[in-house]
Symmetry: C2
Subunit: 205 residues, 2 copies
């Protein structure tokens, strides 16, 4: 495999997904840090060379670039034990990864970012107005996860897959956004299963 | 392959992605309609049996269900010419599909839905306040696509893939949301390439 470089901000759960995937697979990953609060992913050099969308994470593979956390994880794990061999299960893994990006991350990760990193007093009026809807949608996402995980060890089949990695990243940090996990027993038990995997590494921040 | 049933609202571009994928691959697809404006995907029966997330599309495969448009398309196209054989290209296809769901659809599809289907006068105050930001982000998405497509026929490699299908669905309907495609020559040329594919079918609504 070509040299792998992760362009990231280590506070970002989306970046952590890639770090965790590489660690579980034993793949060496060089990590370069950018401060998203400081606009370091919006410089002309970044937009020109690394990602015209101005976002991290971006996985560099040799001299080519893969933006979007789920795609980068898939590149690393393609053909490995982290992607189910069964066709339905493989699609079901992508279902949970899409759901994470559409119905979980914009609520749970965004509230964590706004509250723990930007600071509530520095939010715009429009951001502040969106908090109740994001709170409600984030809670609904946690309820849906907790129901699905009842009686299961992992999201798809009986083995860890990228679906678990994608969902673990911001779920295990959800309390930083004001969500409560104490009354979500199936989620807590599933997080323990993820953390027990050989090669597991914790998020840096 | 098991019997395929698409649970959909035919006005939804996310549903159309699955219809188009099946058509291009010549796969028979039974289609069942739900009126999302009427809450038909939020009934107890729908939530219990089809998708606890209360959304369409859902692809039914025999007696199992795959929510999320990109995952359903991947199920249909897995191993076909619509998924690149090259590992990097396969991940790059997923990159564009993730980008569509995160940076394109919530702006371009949501404005189309609000303006053309819900009606501006029936929007909430919070929705109305979000219009300028969604307009700006939607325009930025179209600029990024237009730049990427300059000198290319398709998004990934030199062949149609699920990335094109995912992005075509709401891009070709963007004008219903007040976006202008006339000054986006690379997008227009790419849309013509998609429409020239054998098996292409138009959106119903």
């Amino acid at each position: 495999m070509d040299q792998l470089i992760l362009h990231e901000d280590q506070r970002s759960g989306n970046c952590y997904k890639i770090v965790l995937t590489a660690a579980l697979l034993g793949l060496p990953l060089e990590r370069r840090q950018y401060d998203i609060l400081n606009g370091e992913t919006r410089t002309p050099a970044f937009l020109e060379r690394i990602n015209p969308n101005g976002k991290i994470p971006v996985l560099q593979v040799g001299d080519r670039f893969i933006p979007e956390s789920n795609a980068a994880c898939f590149y690393l794990a393609d053909g490995s034990r982290l992607v189910p061999e069964d066709r339905f299960d493989r699609a079901d893994m992508l279902h949970w990864m899409s759901w994470e990006q559409y119905s979980h991350e914009p609520n749970i990760a965004t509230l964590r970012f706004w509250i723990a990193y930007v600071g509530e007093d520095r939010l715009s009026e429009l951001q502040r107005m969106q908090i109740p809807a994001k709170r409600e949608a984030g809670e609904a996402a946690l309820v849906l996860m907790d129901c699905h995980l009842e009686g299961r060890r992992f999201f798809v089949g009986d083995r860890l897959s990228l679906a678990d990695i994608a969902l673990y990243a911001y779920t295990h940090a959800a309390e930083e956004g004001g969500f409560v996990l104490a009354d979500r027993p199936a989620i807590r038990s599933w997080m323990a299963h993820v953390e027990a995997e050989p090669g597991y590494v914790a998020m840096d921040a």
